[in-house]
Amino acid sequence: MELSDWQLVEKCQAGDADAFQELVSRYHQKVFMVILGLMRNREDALEVAQETFFRAFRKIKSFQGGSSFYTWIYRIAVNNAIDAQRKQKRNPLDFHESMDGLFEARNEVGKDPFSDVHDRELRENMTKAINELTPEHKAVIVLRTIEGMSYKDIGEILGCSEGTVMSRLHYARKKLQDKLSDFL
């Protein structure tokens, strides 16, 4: 029977390293997606994701279960990513360039040349438009997109009210629609 997140956290707190490994395996991709959505560069995002789990390991004894584990780990991830993004100055194009390669590798291109070009442009412009948002606006749209999280959970992660989440999300979507109007 699969243990719940909280049961794994309790095992970690008792010194069970395998339990922490299990938590990392459950959340590493999601955490990486959140961070990648906030940052401009895959390598930086990978580094920050690993640092996020390292910090989580160091803090896990103080985790009381007041919120769910995923809310807690996403909060660490978002804070790390925003901090790192303010420091890093790498090329923002790294992400969508690697995306093009990835979609080709997954054979998701080549069926309709017109559609391929359109999708490529949409991805490129999506990356640019996302990068023009503030970290706070990026965070709400990424958290909502990846997990379909409720406004309440997003508010807990970002430390703001549901109303703030709602207005940030509305603003971010409006901005994205304006920037991507030629591709939607």
Partner: protein
Amino acid sequence: MSQCETIQESIGRWLDGELPATDSEAVRSHVAGCADCGAARQRLEKIQLTLGSMLSAEASRLEFSPFWREVQRRIDEKRPWHEELIDWCRSTFSAPRLAWAVPAAIMLVLGFLSLAKWPVGGETNNYASVESIDAYGRNVALLRDDKTKTTIIWLYQNPEGENENVEETAKPGPAF
């Protein structure tokens, strides 16, 4: 604001399932019958879908084993003292703790200042006195707080014009 504008303001919340049931039904039925609002819905869904597929495509490339090895290496690694210190400061001086620390610090400062003003067990130089200022019985009550501060509390004249402290040599006439 037209009905379409009102609806389009709410489409995001409706797609997110964050509208109350009655509002949700109103938006759903309007969007079903309105081409403009239907297009607005599709645009929002396309943004969500494109961003989601971009991120999940990248995440699918992420292999667990090398990821975990790097996390484990950091856990096992002895960190330099300054990083340990930064971590300690972050956890110790976190916002919730500062929320308590700020009023506590203010109370400590106020406590220190009040002790400085009224030293515990210390000797104070405060005293009050009544002094004569001329030969016509005019007296003044003084409160001396310390060596440099003197407060005149009141000024009065003895109705009988007597003053035991008057020196014989004092000349008549107002002193001020």
